[in-house]
Symmetry: C2
Subunit: 335 residues, 2 copies
């Protein structure tokens, strides 16, 4: 009998990415950062060229029944802007590849491009090219180029033992909003949560400010969920961390609506994903400066944990003082 | 009664691209070439950054039953390399977004990356990033970056009245190979045609040589078909052209196999697509130099037509001296 062949379910998305890293290694001296971060960085004199790409697929990342084409246009650019923000870069140009069903109404496409244009204008980026194709399901791939000064850029690597761990905004809102949308539709009172899912706001200015002032040692955006993105940062930095559960920033709406949708109060804040907030580490000397930054940009920034030696791994400290290491970190494709 | 809303079938792929151009216009002075060519060009001092993207979707661009994963890996990079070749640029880095079904065997993915790696190595380009996602159908989007000296680059625009029109290689082989594959499978004797479809070879060196020597005035790669790509070049250059049908370069295998698969002998050479040859215009003073180029690179280059004033449009001259303007140029998505 032939043994069943391994498939993607067994290794999951991050298992696949690790294999790709091994299959294809780079030796180009101009390549500052290749696979291993959300953004690739290429040296161009004192400046660096940043490149990132994100794919959105109908039925996987969005559903036409609850995401209108205008929001889809904005969001497909926003998720890429968030990647450039996580490095402290300046987004500049983008290309869009789009696969569309034959019978898609023209009004859908014009609304989509209206949303795309609005988001592009707000963040001062320009559409410079792309590709179009027929497709059964809508597929959108954006490739966003940006720039930054090499010495200012922040990566997943760079966190040091003793650094503080900070996160911007509040967590779990987008994931709870999606859950409400899927289970109950647009219910009155929960619009704020639903909006966080449909119309995320990338933290481009915050990322640039943190990078420019050299306040942080490492940074990542929270797109897959706090735990999983923290673990990415820890892995690339070669460190561990503890996170205080009761310090995780939660919105008033999250606190109000999380029950009865979920039994575990913190679950979506820890592993819901799509927050598009910035998670960064900074030496403790910076602790007093962060509140000024928060006030000047009017974005909450919360000290949620600290960096420990690698052997400590990642653990969460509960309000009662008990701590645990999460077994399942968050969302992962294929698994 | 509500009138039926317009959908994509009515405007077709190029109608859509024209609308996108109108919806989104650019004003950035560093942008040498935005939408309107296959490759976007951004000024970076004396050099230019080139960016192109192509999406391949299972069931639309390829079928797992006849394209194996290794070939798919090579081809998905090759089609992007051909775009950079069409400008005379040097391909450098690429990002790949890939959507994969959950139950896809790992061996499929490792063969795919093996093919990708082989193609990357041959053309000295490096994988620097990407995105992975779950998807019902396989979706592959590559974004390829390249560079060139701004003064050397060739565009769709630039052809002048009186220029000669040249094309590299032979035309129609890939389209005939695909037709044979679809109707009869891998039949003995037609492997050369099938290979042209499965494993296209981008004309990177030829494109660079033409650009570096400033022999051409405009250039494009033949990906959608000779007629449609000629019409793109004519449109962007603001000129017309005549093409001599009996000068169109056909392979021995094409001549042998085209009947009984097709009634019209020239149809696939004119509008089959996926040739990935280079089509370029050059002043008649260059006519004697082209054969040297052809011999030194061992690539046939054929003088197939000439550039006329815009009002002449595009017409084909038959062997009997009769000429016609093709009504349907070639393949277009959505139509």
């Amino acid at each position: 009998m032939k043994a069943k062949e391994k498939d993607l379910r067994e290794i999951g998305e991050f298992g696949l990415i690790n294999r790709i890293r091994k299959w294809i290694t780079s030796s180009d001296p101009a390549l500052v950062q290749g696979i291993g971060d959300d953004v690739a960085v290429i040296k161009m004199g004192a400046k660096a060229l940043l490149v990132t790409t994100d794919i959105l697929i109908e039925g996987i990342h969005f559903d036409r029944s609850w995401l209108d084409p205008y929001q889809l246009g904005r969001k497909s650019l926003a998720v890429n802007l968030s990647d450039i923000a996580s490095m402290g870069g300046i987004p500049k140009y983008f290309l869009i590849s789009i696969g569309l069903p034959k019978n898609l109404p023209l009004s859908f496409i014009s609304s989509f491009y209206l949303g795309l244009k609005k988001e592009a204008k707000q963040f001062r980026v320009e559409l410079i090219g792309g590709d179009t194709s027929l497709s059964q399901k809508i597929v959108i791939n954006i490739c966003l180029l940006g720039e930054g000064r090499k010495k200012d850029l922040l990566f997943r690597k760079g966190a040091r033992v003793g650094d503080d761990l900070f996160v911007s905004g509040t967590l779990g809102d987008a994931a709870l909003g999606l859950k409400i949308l899927q289970e109950k539709g647009k219910i009155i009172g929960a619009e704020g949560l639903i909006k966080k899912h449909l119309s995320p706001c990338p933290r481009v200015e915050l990322g640039q400010t943190i990078a420019k002032h050299h306040w942080a040692t490492a940074m990542i955006d929270v797109s897959d969920g706090l735990l999983i993105d923290t673990s990415h940062l820890l892995q690339e930095s070669g460190v561990g961390a503890q996170v205080w559960e009761n310090r995780i920033p939660l919105s008033r709406l999250y606190r109000k609506w999380v029950h009865p949708f979920l039994k575990d109060f913190f679950q979506l804040a820890l592993s819901g994903g799509e927050d598009y907030e910035l998670l960064f580490t900074a030496p403790s000397e910076m602790r007093e400066r962060i509140p000024y930054l928060s006030r000047s940009l009017k974005i909450p920034i919360t000290h949620i944990g600290e960096i420990l030696p690698k052997k400590e791994g990642l653990h969460i400290i509960r309000e009662d003082g008990k701590n645990y290491s999460p077994s399942r970190l968050g969302f992962e494709h294929f698994k």
